[in-house]
């Protein structure tokens, strides 16, 4: 069998999906199925005075209407799952349906269940809710001020958490030769997978079993949480994530809607479906980022960094979402020193409640914000001392021989070759020529900008012991069973829950190469809590690094057992056998052999097994990695800013990423393309906008930019491969490289272009209007 790991293979998933044979949540249609629609609060902050459902109930076809009061004792609040220790955390959980008060525009107030979707939607009109409007607070800094409206009466100053890590003596800054400070706003973004959220629930009143099909990145976490919320044993609750059309972090969270739909099915003893529409999605599904980051970097005139301190004021929204407490603290804070040798570092994070949609993970979750602040401040430091941004990076990047490298924030970077990756990017970009070109164009009044970012991110969640120490309410090991059928075809079960990553292909490559069988002989089974015993899902670039590692180990266990059976049949000792290309043969006697398929049959028939060997051929692994993995890379962005209009034209984008061992370069490149597009989206176009009274003004694609293919130049994606020592595949994770590396590369490029205007920083997104205004008002400083 040819080598498969490291080769470009087309996605096994695609024939099904592109011929319309996918099975998404909305494709599920059950006999007698009812349809739900949610009444949502139009107010960001209001008292619910009265709810009258009588007119809605009177509409023919309406079966039930539930309000918060109807669910008391039946559906609990949906708890956060990241109980951050040492941060005086004040968790406020989403209630199933609002009771007494609503705290953000879009919060669920009632559920209408009807014979079809149209009636359910019509009935929403007939649910009368009287509100008493309360003052709202939208921005996290405003929410911390004295006299700000309180989102929760018992959370003083709206402060949900105060987290501190690391320490830097004040003298480090007082006595430093150079200190550069900057306030950066990492704006609020709204994850928009092509498939919105949805759920279908079915209850068997005889057995008491409840099945919920839903759009989840981690069905076992959904099962664990909803079992508690609905007070049903986990053994009787089945969660199925069928085909899921993207998530980007927004489908990690457990939400109230899915649980309430589950309850309705149980209560009405009929299946109930709810599919979120796009307008709902903008308000109801978690938002992300929204962090005001103040950073100070101290160092020497020669460009050496000595200390960094960072303050993050993070907007958590109205409730603490599933992993909401972790993003601006652990995920962000542990990575503030970036790819550099900065001996001292400290971080303080204020997590703040506001009358906005709760925030949670979004492709990168904390790491993009960490990379953004360090990569921006490094550029500003370089500017301050008159050094080239590449030179200052080369001076401070962690050298290859220093790995594993313990950072000032107490984490250990597994492996790296940062200078090499940067050099590769500089070569591909022809950096020296670009600078010469920039100089030439500047003389003609044209604004060419070159931006560099040398990011590193924390991925592959992770050691479960660490998860426990940081208050993550779950394990983060991964599970795989590799089951060999009597014919030698193989079913691979994984506890990750892929939703667009192409995992059925990459995992099959690993198994097929190891077993020496055709890739088409392997099927991946995932996303169903009844098929897969346990698992922790797909997020944080853990799919391959942790889930794939479990698959590799489970496959090795299959080989190990198959070898004992083959040795028995060939009447040699195991040591005398070799296994390659799917054939077990006696060393030096290749004619004495058994194929993998023959052994599969022998194992399953069990007619003649060696003593002490049980029938069947199956390997299982529960892999808990000893450390996180730390992918890194160097991105270079070239832009031209239009002096007349402020428009930013992307001229080139070079991404040299090191994600450890690449399993499938085609899919890895696809991940880079998607991630870079999302990262550039945040840098240039995307941004959630709220009015002062908490109305989401960017609530549709008319007002919230979804990046499109035509916005981008060809993304020049390349890989260097520094294997990770923490898992048997040597893989690190590729999904979040783009959203981490791209925003600072792009903003650095635009600021570089605007240098003749004396403009040092502008908040993302760098819209033409913002850039144009900046040029108008600061032009005289040129």
């Amino acid at each position: 069998m040819a080598k498969l790991i490291g080769t470009p293979q087309k996605r096994k998933e695609d024939p099904k999906l592109i011929t319309g044979n996918g099975n998404f949540t909305d494709d599920i249609k059950l006999p007698g199925m009812l349809h739900g629609a949610f009444v949502r609060s139009p107010h960001a902050h209001a008292k619910i005075i009265r709810i009258d459902v009588s007119k809605a109930l009177a509409l023919p076809g309406v079966v039930a209407v539930y309000t918060g009061n109807d669910l008391v004792g039946k559906v609990k609040s949906v708890p956060t799952m990241w109980l951050l220790p040492g941060a005086d955390l004040k968790p406020k959980d989403r209630s199933a349906l609002a009771q007494g008060k609503t705290r953000y525009a879009g919060e669920c107030v009632a559920l209408v269940v009807a014979e079809n979707r149209y009636i359910a939607r019509d009935a929403l009109d007939l649910v009368e809710v009287d509100y008493e409007d309360l003052p709202a607070v939208v921005h996290q800094e405003a929410a911390l001020l004295d006299g700000a409206p309180l989102v929760h009466d018992d959370v003083a100053a709206n402060l949900a958490l105060l987290w501190k890590a690391g320490e830097v003596p004040e003298e480090e800054f007082q006595n430093a030769e150079v200190v550069v400070k900057q306030r950066l706003y990492n704006q609020r973004v709204i994850p928009n997978p092509i498939e919105t959220r949805g759920a279908v629930a079915q209850y068997n009143p005889g057995s008491g079993e409840l099945t919920i099909w839903c759009t989840s990145q981690n069905p076992h976490i959904h099962r664990m949480v909803y079992a508690g919320v609905l007070d049903i044993p986990e053994s009787r609750l089945q969660i199925v994530a069928p085909d899921v059309g993207g998530g980007f972090g927004s489908k990690i969270a457990t939400y109230n809607e899915e649980a309430v739909i589950g309850h309705a099915a149980r209560d009405l003893k009929r299946p109930v479906k709810w599919i979120e529409d796009r307008k709902e999605h903008f308000m109801a599904t978690t938002h992300a980022r929204d962090e005001v980051i103040e950073v100070e970097l101290a160092g020497k005139r020669d460009g050496t960094f000595t200390a960094i301190r960072v303050k993050n004021t993070a907007n958590l929204g109205a409730y603490l979402s599933t992993f909401g407490a972790g993003c601006p603290t652990i995920d962000f804070g542990l990575m503030v020193t970036g790819a550099y040798t900065i001996p001292k570092a400290s971080v303080v994070t204020y997590g703040v409640y506001t009358n906005t949609t709760p925030t949670d993970a979004y492709r990168g979750a904390g790491k993009p914000e960490a990379a953004f602040q360090i990569e921006r401040i490094v550029d500003l430091f370089a500017q301050e001392i008159g050094m080239d941004p590449v030179e200052i990076r080369q001076k401070n990047l962690i050298p290859a021989e220093a790995f594993p490298y313990g950072t000032a924030m107490g984490v250990s970077y597994d492996s790296g070759n940062y200078h090499y990756t940067l050099d590769r990017a500089l070569d591909i970009a022809d950096y020296a020529s670009l600078r010469a070109e920039q100089k030439r164009l500047r003389e003609q009044g044209k604004l060419l900008g070159i931006g560099v970012s040398t990011y590193v991110e924390l991925c592959g969640f992770g050691p479960s012991k660490v998860a426990g120490a940081i208050g993550f309410q779950g394990g983060v090991w991964e599970n795989s069973t590799v089951r060999v059928h009597p014919t030698g075809k193989v079913a691979v079960f994984t506890g990750t829950s892929p939703h667009g990553q192409g995992t059925a292909t990459t995992f099959a490559q690993v198994v097929a190469e190891k077993l020496g069988i055709p890739i088409d002989d392997i099927e991946l089974i995932s996303g169903d809590t009844r098929s897969v015993s346990m698992g922790w899902g797909t997020y944080g670039s853990r799919n391959t690094a942790v889930g794939g590692a479990a698959v590799a180990i489970a496959t090795d266990r299959v080989i190990e057992k198959a070898k004992t059976i083959a040795a028995h049949e060939l009447e040699v000792s195991v040591e005398d056998l070799e296994f390659s290309n799917g054939i077990f043969s006696v060393k030096g006697v290749p004619t004495q052999s058994r194929s993998f398929q023959e052994i599969a049959k022998s194992a399953n028939f069990a007619w003649n097994l060696p003593d002490g060997v049980e029938p069947s051929l199956e390997g299982q692994s529960f892999f808990d990695p000893p450390n996180f993995v730390y992918p890194f890379g160097a991105h270079i962005c070239v832009v031209e800013v239009n002096v007349q209009t402020g428009e930013v034209e992307l001229k080139r984008y070079i991404a040299v990423d090191d994600v450890g061992r690449v399993i499938n370069p085609l899919l890895a490149e696809g991940q880079v393309h998607g991630g870079v597009a999302q990262g550039i989206g945040q840098a240039l176009w995307e941004g959630a906008v709220y009015s002062d009274n908490g109305q989401l003004l960017s609530g549709t694609f008319m007002d919230y930019t979804m990046p499109k293919a035509r916005f981008f130049p060809t993304i020049e994606s390349h890989f260097t491969e520094t294997p990770s020592p923490v898992n048997p595949l040597g893989a690190k994770g590729v999904g979040e490289t783009g959203t981490t590396g791209a925003p600072p590369a792009v903003v650095n490029a635009v600021m570089d272009a605007l240098r003749p205007f004396g403009i040092k920083d502008l908040d993302m997104p760098l819209t033409p209007e913002k850039v144009w205004r900046a040029m108008q008002t600061r032009g005289e400083n040129a």
């Binding site: 139009p42 929403l124 009109d125 307008k279 903008f282 308000m283 109305q695 989401l696 003004l697 609530g699």
Partner: protein, 151 residues
Amino acid sequence: MKLEHTYTFDIPRDVVWKLIQNEEVLKKSIPGCKSFAQMDDGIYQAEMGVSVGPVKGVFTGQVQQVDQKEPSSYRLLVRGKGLPGEIDAVADMRLDEVGQGTQLTCSTEVQVTGVLASVGQRVMGGVAKMVLGQFFKSVDKEMKQLATHSE
């Protein structure tokens, strides 16, 4: 959101003052008005179909006239509620004599919620201008008819 709209009636100010607060005139002139009835002194209950770009819906609400300074100004308080959201508006109406006619200036501060805000905000200014334009045109027509009848 702040909106300002001006309309000039070819009708004397005292007549405009009287008729612009006439229930029948209002009922016939409010675009999409389905019902309009006086509840208490100066408070009207109204039901009105509104269409703001892609956002459509029936709004029910109350209109109250306060701070009346005959014949030159009064203030309208409007609170409406419908599926697409809620509307809370304060409108200052000023009547100035312009020759034989009357110039009416309507300065409004509008707060909206729900889909009306998230989807409709961008087109709201234009729609409000159109709705107010239609309203004053109809009022003009109704007033002229009533004025002719009463002569």
